[in-house]
């Protein structure tokens, strides 16, 4: 008997048991039987076009294509008869007849599936006379070439663009032999909506789509993308000790081989870049001179010694470093330097999430996993330009949309998702509490709340109810600019869908009331009981690849690893016992506070690992003052960043590709890095540097490898108790909380109870942004990120291709404002706030609203953060990056 859901069939005499949903091709693959294919792809719907995969099936007419034929019980299949061989050979001859004859000079020579297949069929010459396909070579894309004379029309590219990425930049046009893959309007691909994700190039069997300057690697090492918090798996291709390319890792459960443009094309040039730091640099008389490691570390230890226990030292850890390194860095600050002055850039992106969700639910992380977005019936996206900033999560949302999910977007900018949404509400920046309270009020008035959930699972509802009462649709509409009708539509749809998921990012958190925003979303989810189930929840998308892990492992001033409060006596005792030293009970300073304290002379020494506050922090002029006022600044980085240039000592570190350890992605999934290369010159992994430094300061730290660091860390971190390198190496797929070594990890949080017990409603009043436009500064500036660059550009701006696509800073300006100011696309603008002034090129677009301006913060030569307001959220101390008041002028006489 076959199991339910399984069928048994015979292929070439082999008995096979397989899933009833499998195709004959799947079943053959499973049995190790090779069937030639050109158009089949396991992630794409069957196309059945190339016909090479034909087979003979008893009791079936003709020669059915195995890629599009389902298995059935008792089926008898033959894949390799003389007749099949003859037909396939003829097909190959047809395909080759219109193919250019220049294999030796072709980019895919020896890597071309068509070529391999021709070999398989022993085709040496062409029977059919030459028919040529005409097409112009398109080299306009920064990363790949399009040569449609080499296209075999398998349509994998078209389908990948539609089914994987979802942008549909290309399609087949023309018919029959004149079919051709083209972007809309047949212009150059660079002028289409193509996002350069390379999903098409990856799949193209021939050189019709080929990577420019392709070098084929000798081996590939699987690791994790160094950019956003999605945590995609990449394969670093290595040849002659150099990284020559990146491919998606199909075995990675998050990305399944899919990547965005940054991961696929922009994640390796920086690794072997000549500007990488190779030796420690000591500043002598204002000039950097190379130093040996012993010299540098001895010097550093000597300089830091006086600050032990004095709270005049601070450390900045890094969301780009591994969990193990973050653990060590906070241990260094706490156990060696005896201070809690440790923070990292999470302060600048999601501190309000960590604070807000921890207070509302008990855990400050995504409540659900990334894949669940695909199954949501409704997705409410706010303050997240997901398709640009977390592209693979964007793919999952696009997948949900294709499956019929409703999308509601609240965003001041018309992002791709806003454009595709069922309902796009354009709120005024900084009015989030108002609209969220407004939705809750409508839900309560219409009786759409989940009464059972509220009464059984939550507390504080009455206060919330009282507070939201004044947020009538009229009132909310006046504050936020969202039409009343849209508020009703959004409230009803969110509350009544079976599975509604909230997804947000920095548009919610980076405000002087970011924690309020986050807790308001938590309120909304709890009122409707849209949490604790699959494909629901409140889901903050974390910005950096390891920002979740850096927080989890305690690179925060008020908590030890695992969010255990330093002020809590019992918890402190636990760490004192483990680390064998007394520890400080005062929470330390946050980033912005540290820099303020430095400017005030209260912090004297700063140790920065892998961060670039001189570009990433608000009010850069003030940051610079702070850094310059320090007695001693050490920067440990892979490049001589803007911040490193101010340092007294610069330590060269290894990048992600040169070390081992783990990253935790935005869905709490802990993933292993693998070392692909040795670091350049004398650069070392951050963890080794910290250990050697600690030794010199009288606190020996000795670990043979990062796995051992994790052994220590996990025992002290309840969420990570069951997460060890050995389990991960064994293929376990673990999202925290994972309380013991047998636990499978958790995709969905708060299922039967909230981490804190009952979910807590927080009654919150709307308070506007700290700085509003006025006569003098009439525009609202929004800052953020874009698809093609990352953070302060340290890594992405080393990629020639990414620079080709977006070479420098710009400001999005609404056409109405542009017209008033007589500004054309590309004109230089002078943008000034109360804190500074920058020059950027104008990009005239309706993506931004009238009276608003958007500037990405990746560019040192037009650094948006010169302008931003360091006003802090009172709870999370996150600065208000998303709103400040600026004035804009055309820079006279300049283009």
């Amino acid at each position: 008997m076959t199991e339910p859901g399984k069928v048994r069939l015979s292929i070439d005499g082999k008995e096979i048991e397989t899933s009833a949903k499998a195709t004959v091709l799947d079943a053959a693959k499973q049995a190790g039987i090779h069937i030639p294919t050109l158009c089949a792809d396991d992630q794409l719907a069957p196309y059945a076009g190339c016909r090479l995969c034909i087979v003979e099936i008893e009791k079936m007419r003709g020669l059915p294509p195995s890629c599009a034929t389902n298995v059935a019980e008792g089926m008898v299949v033959r894949t390799n008869t003389p007749e099949l061989h003859r037909v396939r050979k003829m097909l190959m001859e047809m395909l080759l007849s219109d193919h250019p004859y220049d294999c030796l000079a072709c980019a895919k020579n020896l890597h071309c599936e068509l070529q391999k297949m021709a070999e398989e069929f022993g085709i040496r010459e062409r029977k059919l006379r030459h028919l040529t396909r005409e097409s112009v070579l398109d080299e306009s894309n920064a990363f790949y070439s399009r040569d449609m004379t080499k296209c075999v029309l398998c349509a994998k590219c078209v389908r990948a663009c539609k089914e994987i990425n979802g942008v549909t930049a290309i399609d087949l046009s023309g018919r029959g032999f004149n079919s051709i893959v083209q972007p809309f309007g047949d212009g150059p691909i660079s002028e289409s909506v193509c996002e350069s994700c390379g999903e098409c190039v990856e799949r193209c069997p021939t050189a019709a789509l080929s990577i420019k300057k392709q070098v084929w690697p000798d081996k590939e090492v699987s690791t994790i993308c160094p950019y956003c918090g999605t945590g995609c798996g990449i394969l670093l291709g290595i040849k002659d000790g150099k990284i020559v390319g990146v491919r998606g890792d199909k075995n990675n459960p998050v990305s399944r081989g899919q990547l965005c443009v940054k991961g696929r094309f922009g994640a390796f040039e920086f690794i072997g870049h000549p500007a990488r730091l190779k030796k420690p640099l000591l500043k002598k008389n204002g000039e950097f001179v190379e130093a040996s490691w012993p010299e540098a570390l001895d010097y550093m230890a000597e300089k830091l010694k006086p600050y032990i226990g004095a709270d005049r030292f601070a450390a900045l850890s890094s969301a780009k470093c591994t969990n193990e390194e973050n653990y060590l860095m906070q241990k260094f600050a706490r156990a060696v330097m005896k201070t809690n002055n440790i923070d990292h850039c999470a302060r600048l992106c999601h501190a309000s999430t960590v604070a807000g969700l921890a207070d509302s639910f008990g855990s400050g992380a995504m409540t659900n996993s990334i894949d669940e977005f695909r199954d949501a019936e409704l997705i409410l996206v706010t303050g997240s330009n997901t398709t640009e900033n977390h592209p693979i999560i964007g793919y999952r949302i696009r997948e949900a949309l294709r499956k019929g999910a409703k999308l509601i977007v609240f965003d001041p900018r018309e992002t791709w998702l806003a454009n595709q949404a069922w309902l796009w509400c354009r709120q005024k920046p900084g009015t989030d509490v108002a609209w969220i309270n407004g939705l809750i009020r409508i839900i309560l008035k219409e009786g759409l709340e989940n009464k059972k959930f509220i009464s059984e699972r939550t507390e504080g509802f009455e206060d919330l109810k009282k507070t939201v009462d004044k947020y009538t649709p009229e009132y909310v509409s006046k504050i936020s600019g969202v039409p009343e009708e849209q508020l009703f539509q959004a409230a009803r749809a969110y509350a009544t869908a079976g599975k509604s998921s909230i997804l947000y990012s920095m548009g919610i958190t980076q405000h002087s009331h970011g924690t309020d925003n986050v807790q308001s979303l938590a309120n909304l989810a709890m009122v409707c009981g849209q949490i604790g189930r699959a494909a629901t929840g409140v889901n903050p998308l974390r910005g950096q690849n390891n920002v979740q892990g850096a927080c989890d492992l305690g690179a925060l001033p008020d908590v030890f690893p695992g969010y255990q409060k330093v002020a809590d006596e019992a918890l402190r005792k636990k760490f004192e016992d483990a680390w064998g030293v007394p520890l400080s009970s005062h929470p330390g300073l946050t980033i912005v506070e540290m820099l303020n304290a430095a400017a005030d002379g209260k912090i004297k020494a700063l140790y920065i690992m892998g961060e670039n506050p001189l570009l990433s922090d608000p009010d850069l002029h003030h940051v610079e003052q702070g850094l310059k006022a320090l007695d001693f600044l050490v920067v440990q980085d892979i490049f001589l960043t803007e911040t490193a240039q101010l340092a007294d000592l610069v330590l060269p570190s290894a990048c992600f590709a040169e070390k081992e350890g783990t990253f935790t992605n935005t869905e709490r999934r802990v993933q292993l890095l693998n070392k692909a290369l040795d670091p350049p010159g004398e650069a070392k992994p951050d963890w080794e540097i910290i250990c050697e430094l600690a030794d010199r300061l009288g606190y020996p730290m000795s670990y043979p490898d990062p796995a051992e660091i994790m052994e220590e860390a996990r025992k002290l971190t309840p969420q990570y108790h069951g997460i060890s390198h050995s389990r991960l190496k064994g293929g376990c797929d673990l999202c925290w909380p994972c309380p013991n070594q047998d636990h499978p990890g958790a995709r969905i949080l708060h299922q039967d109870r909230f981490t804190r017990g009952k979910g807590k409603f927080t009654a919150i009043e709307h308070l506007g942004p700290a700085e509003l436009p006025d006569k003098q500064y009439p525009f609202t500036l929004i800052t953020g990120r874009i698809l093609y660059h990352f953070h302060t550009g340290t890594m992405t701006r080393k990629s020639a291709g990414l620079n080709q696509i977006v070479p420098g800073p710009y400001a999005e300006l609404n056409p109405v404002d542009a017209k008033k100011m007589k500004v054309k696309n590309g004109d230089q603008l002078r943008v000034a706030s109360r804190r500074g002034e920058i020059k950027v090129a104008a990009r005239v677009t309706e993506v931004v609203n009238i009276g608003e301006l958007f500037i990405p913060f990746h560019f040192y030569e037009g650094a948006a953060n010169v302008l931003t307001n360091p006003a802090l959220d009172p709870v999370a101390k996150i600065p208000e990056f998303k709103v400040c008041a600026v004035k804009v002028e055309k820079a006279a006489g300049e283009k």
Binding site: L52, L91, G176
Partner: protein, 430 residues
């Protein structure tokens, strides 16, 4: 017109034959009223028992097709295939031009039988005039309460929409038609799933030809025996034949099925043009196998007789080919048509058809070698039964048959280094 019994073309000669009053005067819409008083399943059964077979080409029993529609509560659709793009076929156009209400009444009955509340008429883009006539007829039927909400006073709603096609022959293939209706590029879909499982907007759908649907009112109104009075036991009823080529009176004729082919050519359609001799007939549209003159002698125009002769009734488009026609040139023209109309998904069709066209051209121009005839045959064999939709089969049909049935002529071209005739056609094709 001839003196044969008329079902489909009964009203065609009348003044204002397309108007609803004309149709009502001839007993129009009584069948619909009657059908709506019957159990839906009973209606399908009657149509099945009457022996009505699909007139779009494949000849599948219409009543049986309707019973494939699942009985769940998803919305169901009837798509009427009015794409009529096959060379030589031009019968559906006349139904829509001269008697659109017969089609609409058929739609009402079919939709009731399948409990479908929406029907699309997918009409060939070039058919501007018929589309206008249909629109007007739908409006009239709406005003009379035959379409719209609660039709004929029953608790049954029915909307009929006319959808203008995008001008590709392939859009007549039923799954391609569905894609095109959904606003996509008209590429045929992989089957399974078949349209009754997953059709328009992924909902259960039946696709029927115009003539098939237009034949239904008579069956319901007059009953099975009345319908079976015409035609043969296995091919009952009447059918429209569109005749073209070297014939004196090209046009559309309604004949009872089973009528002798030679009588049709020589008597009904006025005989061969300019007295030339018959060379061959393509009896059912360009996608059906060609018959040499001697193969036509005892053939009748019905499904079985044509199948026995090695061809098909198809859509009933009879192409008459006179002596003196160059079959190589004809193959080139036909193959070129298919190459042009291939959607391009399948290798054998996309590459095979232009290859065959190119070879036929080379043979005709005298630039070919003997071996090219075999390449042609093997190309044809590789296209047959190897593709997503039957267009490649249609294309392969002449590629296989012409060199086989007229090999001598093909070889002569090669020996002669060009067409032995002064011109490829004795008289212009009509």
């Amino acid at each position: 017109m001839n003196e044969f019994p008329k079902i489909l073309s009964a009203n065609w000669g009348k003044p204002n034959s397309a108007g609803i009053e004309t149709y009502l005067a001839s007993g129009g819409y009584e069948a619909a009223r009657k059908a709506l008083g019957m159990e839906p399943a009973k209606v399908s059964q009657e149509v099945l028992d009457a022996g009505l077979r699909g007139r779009g080409g494949a000849g599948f029993p219409a009543g049986r097709k309707w019973t494939f529609m699942p009985k769940d509560n998803r919305p169901r659709y009837l798509c009427v295939n009015a794409d009529e793009g096959e060379p030589g076929t031009f019968k559906d156009r006349d139904i829509m031009r001269f008697d659109p209400h017969m089609l609409i009444e058929g739609i009402i009955i079919a939709c009731w039988a399948m409990q479908a509340n929406n029907s699309y008429i997918y009409i060939r883009g070039e058919f501007e005039e018929p589309a206008k006539i249909l629109e007007k007829a739908i409006q009239e039927a709406n005003q009379k309460g035959f379409l719209g909400g609660k039709i004929f006073g029953k608790d049954f709603n029915l909307q009929v929409w006319v959808h203008r096609g995008a001008g590709a022959y392939i859009c007549g293939e039923e799954t391609s038609l569905i894609e095109s209706l959904e606003g996509k590029r008209g590429n045929p879909r992989i089957r399974p799933p078949f349209p009754p499982q997953k059709g328009v907007f992924d909902q259960p759908t039946t696709v029927n030809n115009v003539e098939t649907i237009a034949s239904v009112p008579f069956i319901i109104r007059e009953g099975i025996p009345a319908y079976r009075k015409f035609g043969t036991e296995k091919s009952p009823g009447t059918k429209l034949f569109s005749v073209s080529g070297h014939i004196n009176k090209p046009g559309v004729y309604e004949l009872p099925l089973g009528y002798p082919l030679m009588n049709f050519i020589n008597e009904v359609a006025g005989g061969m043009i300019a007295g030339i001799k018959l060379k061959a007939v393509i009896p059912g549209g360009s996608s059906t196998p060609v018959l040499r003159a001697e193969e036509c002698q005892n053939v009748n125009l019905d499904y079985e007789s044509l199948a026995a002769a090695g061809s098909m009734l198809g859509s009933g488009a009879v192409t008459v080919i006179g002596e003196g026609t160059c079959m190589v040139k004809l193959l080139e023209i036909l193959t070129h048509f298919y190459a042009h109309e291939s959607c391009g998904q399948c290798t054998p069709c996309r590459e095979g058809a232009p290859w065959a066209a190119q070879i036929a051209k080379r043979i005709h121009e005298g630039k070919a070698e003997l071996n090219d005839i075999d390449v042609l045959s093997s190309l044809g064999a590789n296209m047959m039964g190897r593709t997503i939709c039957p267009l490649a089969d249609a294309a392969a049909c002449p590629i296989i048959d012409f060199p086989k049935k007229f090999r001598e002529e093909f070889e002569a071209h090669i020996r002669n280094k060009g067409c032995p005739q002064a011109k490829p056609f004795p008289v212009e094709f009509k």
